[in-house]
């Protein structure tokens, strides 16, 4: 009898504990969204969104934790094979020149210093480099490489640490020459037209 009673007490305690844990955990769960009008599709899990959402906007709001400086970046630049295509110092090619240079009408992709926002450099390195195995750099490596390129282009100091806070604050030298694309609507005229 005593055994039975203690078993009941124990299971009650476990149940209460579980309820308490559930209540504690509850505020961490996002509120379940109302289903879509069609009932099709499902909410992404937090992990799915984290893994898929690699977009970094101009203001760097989505930059992940991590950090790196130019010295570390120089090492990554060699270790990860960046130098195989861009040259030992990022100048020699054969792939795009990453140090110095000025844009011309015949360049598709502007030199680093002409990118208007530093977080965009981070975004591109993470999603697309290294060329032969893209998307496999760690956040620290990407911060270090970004710092290396900014340093080599005389935009930051060698020991400046780039992270989610400092990178968006980097003042790109040609930022003021950038005009954001006009917000297009179906009525927006083309700038160049011959009207008859």
């Amino acid at each position: 009898m005593r055994t039975v009673r203690s078993a009941i007490v124990l299971s009650l305690a476990v149940w209460l504990g579980a309820v308490a844990l559930a209540q504690q955990a509850a505020p961490q769960q996002p509120p379940r969204p109302a289903p879509s009008p069609s009932g099709l599709g499902r909410a992404p899990t937090a992990n799915e969104t984290k893994a898929w959402d690699i977009s970094i906007g101009p203001d760097g709001a989505e930059l992940p934790p991590g950090s790196g400086n130019a010295t570390q970046g120089a090492l990554v630049f060699t270790q990860r094979g960046c130098s195989d295509c861009h040259g030992p110092t990022g100048k020699e090619g054969p792939a795009l020149v990453l140090v110095g240079g000025t844009p011309t009408l015949s360049t598709n992709y502007f030199p680093i210093a002409y990118w208007p926002y530093a977080p965009s450099i981070w975004d591109f390195i993470r999603r697309a480099m290294p060329y032969n195995r893209p998307g496999r750099l760690t956040a620290d490596e990407v911060y270090a490489l970004t710092a290396f390129l900014l340093y080599r282009n005389a935009i930051i100091q060698e020991d400046d640490v780039m992270d989610a806070k400092s990178l968006p604050k980097v003042q790109m030298p040609h930022r003021t020459e950038y005009t954001p694309p006009e917000p297009w609507t179906p009525a927006t005229p083309r700038p160049f037209k011959i009207v008859q």
Binding site: T49, T179, P186, P191, K193
Partner: protein, 440 residues
């Protein structure tokens, strides 16, 4: 069917009768043999059009040999090591096209540095998230359960610049095509997710290596953008974005993100790698409108490398299109633009789609310079090369030394010259260097 009889017929027959046997299992292996033997000689070719494969998935005549042409390299500035897979871009054989639809197999393809991914549609998902009430993940099958549209639209690369150095229409205009696209309007998907008030742009991202990404203004996304799973009546092909791609009608090709995996609703353009260089250091007057294409047309017959056999009756024909809406009128000139005649339209006139035109012509055996110009519904006229260069303040040399992506849509007129022997060549005077980086 009696297997024995089938076997006897197999012994007696040649390939021409194989079509009658395809229902018999024994004929399947026979037919496969026939397919593997195809190409060995003329007899095998006859087998080929009657092979089981040809019955199951049609085949063109062996006398029709038109194919896409392979680009030297779409990005000559990017060197090895190449990613695996790697695949060159390919041009549409524009001079061989008929009507307004480009056969999928002949439709130009390009990738942004990386190869075509091999995607299992059962595992592929599309995420719609960002500034929405309900972030959602859809399977491809779920998307097919939503309301859809089928629309015919051209797709053109910004690098599709009329080149004075091109020999054929494929050389000068091969980076374009026109297909019927079937898919879910993006407005439907954004309604499913529920837009928040701060929503101003969307960014669309592919799932290939490199994850090509592009910002699209929200008013366009809600206007006529679609998430396409069908092209010309069958699933979008792998090199066109299987299983899902974005179609942004009338906009530069690069907006039409292939292997689409994610739509993020945001409050500003994201100035991605493919975008930042377009909006810096330019005079606002000449800043390329990096969105919709202007009116454009090209004569496809007779065009470069064609040979007129003798003087007499011909139809000059070509296609016209505009990112600004339907084509209102196409004019054709046989004297290099001194005089024009209004062309006949041979089929439907659809918004942001190829419109096929023709003009009957009696060739008198004298030199002729054939060219067309398109007028779209917005009243915009296709410019000449001189008019285009004047707008930019560039010489001819400078015009062709610039990358097309820095100029915006290169929609000037390209004439074809017919000499007294009936030989057709490029009518633009050649220039020394043409910068030919493919895409922007």
């Amino acid at each position: 069917m009696d297997p024995q009889k089938s076997g006897r017929r197999r012994f007696l027959t040649n390939g021409a009768t194989l079509a009658g046997l395809v229902l018999a299992p024994s004929a399947v292996s026979l037919s496969s043999t026939s397919v593997s033997a195809a190409g060995a000689g003329a007899a095998a070719d006859v087998d080929d059009v009657n092979s089981l494969d040809a019955v199951l998935y049609g085949r063109r005549s062996r006398f029709v040999t038109t194919v896409r042409s392979i680009e030297g390299m779409s990005h000559p500035d990017v060197m090895p090591p190449r990613p695996n897979p790697y695949r060159p871009s390919a041009r549409t054989p524009v001079g061989d096209l008929m009507g307004i639809i480009t056969p999928t197999s002949l439709h130009f393809t390009t990738q942004h540095f990386y190869g075509v991914p091999d995607i299992n549609p059962a595992e592929h998902k599309l995420m719609v998230h960002g500034l929405v009430e309900r972030p959602l993940v859809f399977t491809v099958d779920e998307l097919k359960r939503l309301p859809f549209v089928s629309r015919i639209h051209f797709l053109e690369c910004i690098g599709n610049r009329p080149s004075p150095n091109g020999r054929s229409a494929a050389d000068t205009h091969g980076r374009m095509g026109c297909s019927e696209w079937t898919g879910v309007p993006l407005s439907v998907l954004l309604k499913e997710a529920g837009l928040k008030n701060e929503a101003k742009w969307i960014i669309a991202e592919g799932s290939e290596d490199g994850k090509h990404v592009k910002s699209v203004p929200l008013p366009k996304a809600l206007d006529d953008v679609m998430v396409a799973y069908g092209q010309n009546g069958e699933p979008v092909r792998p090199d066109h974005g299987f299983p899902l791609r974005l179609i942004v009608p009338g906009f530069e090709g690069i907006y039409n993100v292939k292997w689409l995996r994610r739509i993020k609703v945001v409050d500003q353009p994201y100035v991605t790698f493919q975008e930042h260089s377009r909006f810096i250091g330019r005079d606002p007057k000449t800043q390329p409108n990096s969105f919709e294409f202007g009116p454009k047309s090209i004569i496809t017959y007779p065009s470069g490398t064609h040979q007129l056999p003798n003087r007499g009756s011909y139809v000059i024909t070509g296609v016209a299109w505009s990112g600004g809406g339907p084509i209102r009128k196409v004019d054709v000139s046989i004297d290099g633009g001194k005089t024009y005649k209004e062309a006949e339209i041979s089929g439907p006139i659809l918004s942001k789609a190829f419109t096929r035109f023709y003009l009957p012509w009696k060739w008198d055996g004298e030199e002729a310079v054939l060219q067309s110009r398109a007028l779209d519904e917005k009243g915009q006229m296709q410019p000449t090369e001189a008019e285009y260069a004047k707008y930019w303040g560039l010489t001819r040399q400078q015009l062709y030394a610039a990358t097309p992506s820095q100029l915006g849509h290169c929609n000037w007129i390209l004439p074809w010259k017919v000499d007294r022997m009936g030989k057709v060549t490029n009518g633009l005077p050649p220039v020394g260097a043409v910068v030919d980086a493919h895409s922007a």
